[in-house]
Amino acid sequence: MKKSLVLLLFLALGLAPAAFAASTTSVTVAVGAEASLTVSAATPLTEAGNFANYTGATTFTYLIRTTPSTGTGSVTLKVTTDFAPTGGPSVATPATGDSLTYSCTATGTSTPAACSGPITALTTAYTNVLTVGADKHSTLAGDTGTVNWTLTNDPNYKVASYSSTVTFTVAAA
């Protein structure tokens, strides 16, 4: 019994280094600036009273990571499809004094700087919603923002329902 115990001990000592020896791999990940965005699908505009301007809000969440030191990020929007059918409001060719404008709010760990507004939405160019600085990071669930819309209520609009499409773009560098 004593002999076998000594033998087992030697075996264990001898085997132990071999059992923990392994080849290694270096797991690397290049984490770059990136961003994603989710926008509320529908934004109804309503009026509070007769010939009060139409108002509504679009909410969005965004995930963002910007590069340290020189990085930047932004959310912009553009009216990619003008109001239809014709006879109502238009972003591309509004009646004099008519406009679709917006202001912005935003919060989160990316410490966004929201547009102060009112900003006139365009079909020809993206306009600012918010910006973030270098080395900024949203939460994993996403930071949040809101665009508050105001559409002129022109008596000249024909009675009907009108719809347009606004595309939001988030960019990170």
Binding site: S23, T43, L45, Y157, S161, S163, F168
Partner: protein, 180 residues
């Protein structure tokens, strides 16, 4: 060593696309607005003094101006402006719309209106009433005022009855605009 290198390459290949994917991303929202028939009216002069041009019992006359915004429907829409004496002259012993001291002591008016909505003003002198609304102007289908508002006016005439006791008398007239 060869196995290690191969594994490292594979790991890098798998991770790189994820790390650099999408420095930009987009999302869209559909902005919808339902525009209905609607109307609003603003009386330009909150007070309408009636005065007489002479001293020999010529009728009292005055003018009430108003602006209005309106949008009527394309299909069978219409609009109107009406008025009603919602508070008769007071104090007593002067003119009265509800119970004039003499038959024929009326408060009458004529109308004018102009603007993008192409209003049709009341065609003849109307007698104001405390009981029912009376027409000022009408609007047809698919009519639209200008954005600042179209304009109208009511020209008042109050019979100058010698029976009225001297004094200052006030009544309230309510203008109503509607659109379908």
């Amino acid at each position: 060593m060869r196995k290690f290198s191969l594994m490292l390459i594979l790991v890098t290949m798998v991770l790189s696309p994820a790390a650099f994917a999408q420095a930009t991303a987009t999302g869209t929202t559909a902005i919808t607005v339902t525009i209905g028939a609607e109307a609003t009216i603003s009386i330009t002069n909150g007070s309408t003094p009636l005065t007489e041009t002479g001293t020999s019992f010529t009728n009292f006359t005055g003018l009430t101006n108003f602006t209005y915004q309106v949008r009527t429907s394309q299909a069978s829409g219409s609009g109107s402006v009406t008025l009603k004496v919602t508070s008769d002259f007071s104090p007593a012993n002067g003119p009265s719309v509800a119970t004039p001291p003499t038959a024929g002591d009326t408060l009458t008016y004529t109308c004018t209106g102009s603007g993008g909505s192409s209003p049709t003003p009341c065609s003849s002198a109307q007698t104001a009433s405390t009981i029912s609304s009376t027409p000022v102007l009408t609007l047809a289908t698919d009519k639209h005022s200008t954005s600042p508002g179209d304009s109208g006016a009511v020209n008042w005439t109050l019979v100058n009855d010698p029976k009225y006791k001297t004094g200052s008398y006030t009544s309230t007239v309510t203008f109503t605009i509607s659109a379908t």
